[in-house]
């Protein structure tokens, strides 16, 4: 009477295993595995029979056992910068949401699922999930998470050019420098004489590259830089900084805002100072939000194409996982898109003009 009760530890209480299917179908475990996975040499009759019995028993293979045996989990990590404490900044919401959505779709289409993980290097979360690879958003220099993952031999693809000598498998990014220069040229062509910048105090690559591109442009055309910085994670600070920028004695006649809410912030500040847009002030901001199509006036935005980035990142990662090896890190640059609206055109056009890029296909 010592071991009458073996209550099937391991959570799958009562669930049918491959062994039960084999018994019910009158074949061996090997045959069941081969029949369900389309391997081995089995007559179609046996294959059908096994499949039918498995269906009848409601058999679902154990993902854990399969992963343990094959070494592939079908899971991809998606690392969000500083998720644990203060989640990713509010200003990146639309960008992140779209990027994650595209990444999820792309992964699912190839049979993988996405796991959201924090950028903290606390092992107790990371080591609890078997990953085949990881997407890292905007990794910092010497990122401990990336280093650890690479040490484990896992492929890592980053959204954003890796700083320093971070050994990522591949990366995808925009050409932020070219985007900013292009955009400033656009404003100058619309008649801007002094272009201001609303930027962030953070040191991430996007902010840094964009700001230095602005400074270079100013130097090239011989304009004094006019900019205000604020901590991008604080939505209120953005409104204050926008106000400061327009309150300056050397007030710019055009402004580019690096972050999503800057458009409405600048618009509100312009109203406070009685500045008409675009007559007195040209406006552009970097955003993925569609609200800027219906503001008064509609605001020109720079889109970083997060959908394409999310898709590309996942494709590269899965390629690496499935053994499509390249030599050296693979780099892929996604073009940005300037969506020109009323706010950046000195003489209002008859129709709202979009940039002459590929119109469809995202």
């Amino acid at each position: 009477m010592s071991r009458t009760d073996t209550p099937r530890r391991g959570g799958r209480q009562g669930r049918a295993g491959i062994r039960d299917v084999a018994a019910a179908a009158g074949v061996s475990i090997t045959t069941v595995s081969d029949a369900l996975n389309g391997k081995g040499r089995l007559p179609d009759a046996t294959r059908r029979h096994v499949r039918e019995v498995a269906e009848r028993l409601g058999y679902r293979p154990s993902a854990a056992a399969r992963t343990l045996r094959t070494g592939k989990s079908g899971l991809i990590g998606l690392t969000v910068t500083t998720y644990g404490d203060e989640p990713f900044t509010f200003t990146e919401f639309a960008y992140f949401a779209e990027m994650a959505r595209a990444a999820t779709s792309a992964a699912l289409a190839r049979g993988y699922a996405l796991v959201i993980l924090p950028a903290t290097s606390r092992h107790d979360v990371w080591s609890n999930v078997a990953l085949d690879g990881t997407v890292v958003i905007d990794p910092s220099d010497q990122d401990p998470v990336v280093t650890e993952l690479v040490r484990q031999g896992l492929p890592v693809v980053s959204d954003g050019r890796p700083a320093g000598t971070l050994p990522v498998t591949a990366w995808v990014d925009n050409d932020h420098r070219a985007a900013v220069l292009d955009l400033l040229d656009h404003l100058a062509a619309a008649g801007a004489r002094r272009i201001g910048l609303l930027t962030g105090t953070t040191t991430d690559t996007y902010t840094r590259l964009s700001t230095t591109a602005y400074l270079h442009w100013c130097e090239r055309v011989g304009q004094d830089p006019v900019y205000e910085s604020y901590p991008a994670h604080d939505p209120c600070a953005g409104a204050v900084a926008a106000d400061r920028l327009l309150a300056r004695p050397d007030r710019p006649d055009a402004v580019y805002g690096l972050f999503d809410p800057n458009g409405t912030d600048l618009l509100a500040a312009a109203r406070r100072y009685g500045l008409r847009v675009p007559e007195d002030l040209l406006l552009v901001c970097c955003s993925e939000s569609t609200v800027y199509a219906t503001t008064e006036p509609p605001i020109t935005t720079l889109s970083l194409k997060p959908r394409r980035i999310g898709t590309a990142v996942v494709q590269l990662l899965i390629d690496a996982i499935e053994g499509v090896t390249h030599d050296g890190p693979v780099e892929q640059v996604i073009p940005t898109e300037l969506i020109v609206r009323t706010s950046s055109q000195r003489r209002p056009p008859r129709t709202t003009v979009s940039a002459p890029r590929s119109p469809a296909g995202d």
Copy 2:
């Protein structure tokens, strides 16, 4: 000497296993497991020694093996409605992003990670990942995914009251009916004589409950319903519907828009018809976006508090996973919040008034 070559299948090529740690530390496998997991009765010296050796070898336990053995994966599914084909509607972006963010944080805080999964019942994705439970967003009646999960004995918690007799473990939702009635009373108190509604053609619970609440309210106060419906997933259709609503002969003097972009859409339409907000038209829309704080004028919004919903859903799910059993489905109603701004106040206040709530902490 027949099996000299066992090239360590299973992906962890070269990775140190618990057996290697045991050998290096001169103890048994059991001792290593106990030392690292804080179980068993070991002197601190042994425990430290084993931990140090494990650290030196860079040992990381295999999540797959642990899951197989314990039956717990530490993974929670997050099911997004109709993700595969056309991802979740653009109008729900901010809501979903915030909800998912809160859910992720709450899960991580309790040692779980979130896996994003599609609502399609294709087994090949679902069966590849070992889940401890699942969060389902707005499940449809007789949802096949939920049914299958429950059949497998997994706890399921839904965001949104389950329709019909869907056997979820627990659910969290707002009281949409009360929120709409409250909001309409607010508009009436501000002087609205005829309140219009911008609603959707979809049959999801949120749209349905909100619309019927509106109709009930109209009946109660003796007002003829004035509403326009449009497919919420099409952002352009929203602008058209807003225009239609204000072009009607029985034009309303106040409008509530059910979806996030309706605020800017209605504002644009009002400008086209020369209507001043709030003097000629009162405006409220349901949104989680902060842009409505800086539009001209700022627009009153109804927040569904997705952060609190995401947190609550995950807490309930993990409680169920970890054996905190309740009898019958657990229901939790999260209060909504009406953030009153200029657009719904007939006599403009001296300062922009925010709702009298706790200013910080969500």
